[in-house]
Symmetry: C2
Subunit: 341 residues, 2 copies
């Protein structure tokens, strides 16, 4: 086919000037007579005109991309977030660029450079490695940033967060209300604020219920390349090594909870008859497995769309106070926790 049509050809065909065409085609608020507008639109249609986004961005110094960085693309929790972000981004006329960081600070740094080079309109990021260095980097990029999911301690910036502490409290309270006294919280390394907060909430409730906290927190180390499921296996094994089994385990996320259940079962233990398990996140697979997983819901879709909305607001209105929203946990009762006695 012939070379792609540009506004020059559209202008010729419509019998008007470049500027007018640009004003029509870029939906500028600039006044153009209805009749001219119609001619331009028709000409564009007839030529199969497609705007050149690079030229637009270059000239207007305003990219149409929203960049998103998540730790993993394979975690359904992030899939839900990404899906919600995509919907929001697209409906606002932007496009989504997606990156996964594996929580690797060096990769995050490189990705930020990459994102800077495309003059993204905004950046959405979930990172556990946030520090002054990365913060400075983002600031230098001059691109509005919104943090979500993981909220680094002492962060100054826009963020869409979650009350992790409350989630930990809720898990502990529920287990206690179901008659459990010998409870364990199983987790990976406390290398991120969210886990510390959950643990603190969990421990606090145990303490204030006069339950012995010693040994109530199990933190398995993150062996190279270990995924969430394997982390769950490791947690279960740590639990199995104790002289006396707890009656319930709260696990840091649903996938790890799957690992815990699988490993327990391999040991001949029945969930929830012999031991109860409560997860965290509420991924869709939680109700597909048997027994279905009792868990604490963290609203992924809501987080994603809220973060995207905020980011898009920021594009048009970069000044102003830092805004933030903190979602509250919701207890999802299913089958993996049993009422004692």
């Amino acid at each position: 086919m012939a070379d792609k049509a540009t506004i020059v050809e559209v202008a010729e065909k419509a019998g008007t000037s470049l500027s007018t065409v640009s004003r029509v085609l870029s939906n500028s608020s600039y006044p153009v007579s209805a009749e001219t507008k119609k001619r331009v639109l028709e000409a564009a249609e007839a030529l199969g005109y497609i705007p050149n986004n690079a030229a637009r961005s270059l000239r207007s110094k305003r990219g149409m991309y929203i960049a998103v960085i998540v730790p993993s693309l394979n975690n359904p929790f992030y899939s839900s977030i990404i899906s919600a972000i995509e919907r929001e981004v697209l409906s606002s006329g932007y496009m989504m660029q997606l990156y996964s960081s594996d929580n690797d600070p060096e990769l995050e740094n490189r990705l930020l450079d990459l994102i800077g080079s495309v003059q993204a309109a905004a950046i959405l990021i979930s990172s556990i490695n946030w520090d002054e260095k990365l913060e400075k980097k983002v600031r230098e990029l001059g691109i509005p940033a919104v943090f979500f999911d993981q909220i680094p301690n002492g962060i100054t910036g826009h963020f869409i967060g979650f009350d992790f502490r409350k989630a930990g409290m809720m898990a502990a309270e529920f287990l206690i209300s179901e008659g459990h006294r010998d409870i364990v919280f199983g987790c990976g390394p406390f290398d991120r604020e969210s886990r510390k907060l959950y643990r603190d909430g969990f421990s606090e409730v145990l303490s204030s219920s006069s339950i012995d906290c010693s040994g109530a927190v199990i933190s398995v180390e993150n062996r190279k390349g270990m995924n969430e499921y394997e982390m769950g296996i490791a947690i279960a094994e740590a639990v199995l090594h104790r002289e006396k089994l707890p009656t319930a385990i709260a696990v840091i996320n649903d996938i790890a909870a799957f690992g815990v259940m699988k490993r327990l079962e391999a040991e001949g233990l029945n969930v929830p008859a012999d031991i109860s398990v409560i997860g965290f996140d509420d991924i869709p697979y939680g109700f597909m497995i048997s027994p279905s997983l009792t868990t604490i819901r963290q609203p992924a879709a809501e987080t994603g769309s809220m973060a995207a909305k905020l980011a898009i607001d920021l594009v048009n209105n970069p000044e102003g106070e830092y805004s933030n929203e903190v979602f509250q946990p919701v207890l999802i009762k299913r089958e993996s926790v049993r009422r004692l006695r």
Copy 2:
């Protein structure tokens, strides 16, 4: 901070010309003396220079984006593919733009326009709606396209596919070899080539084993907004309505298989003691559930990286024959299928 540095400033600081700077910074193969190169690199570093991708693309008429369209972002099968694509794309210096189509032809059409406007270097697409109209559209975009996963019938183009027919045969053969004679294939509407192929392979094996095929294929209709899991529920219900239960069900995908198992179980049936289930795809959750899911593996990660590699090759070498690769199914034996007698 000051405005972002451009190559003009870098050139000044390095005491050389624009072109030289460009040649160094764009990794051109053009010869530049080692010493000059070093000066340029240092100047760029010192100024925190970040290339402007829009200007690059505009001038070189060559975008650095690889656009990807998948039906859904929430299906772990596609998550695996996307993850593999991202890795490949990034390591080749490109960036990934991700879109989900929900298999909606109109949306696909709009997305293609969007992708055309960014002069993407290549486009990767999984679509069940491929026809002359969309084919023409992609061709007009002038962007190399690679199809993956779903292979529309009679497609002419590059594609990374899968032997769905063989998968259906493999499922049937395995079930038969385990002593099953009363077998059902549960599926959604036959609105895509892949499902028809699986069914044909499945039926063929049944026929040639002199097994009664009548009623061996159950196709539930796709009620508005129904997801894979719900489709599985519907399949199970259709099976339960029969006067006599089959001894095994082959399901069109793993998530639907989860739905089938859940619904069967709700009826007091035990998998695999009372009835066997074999899935298709091999998503990671298959081995996390109980009983773990016997399934036919479709290599998601391999498909993704192969498709991405092909696309990137195409960018540098757009001419030449249409290339295609067809992956073979692999049987993954786990616990959900029982040997009869």
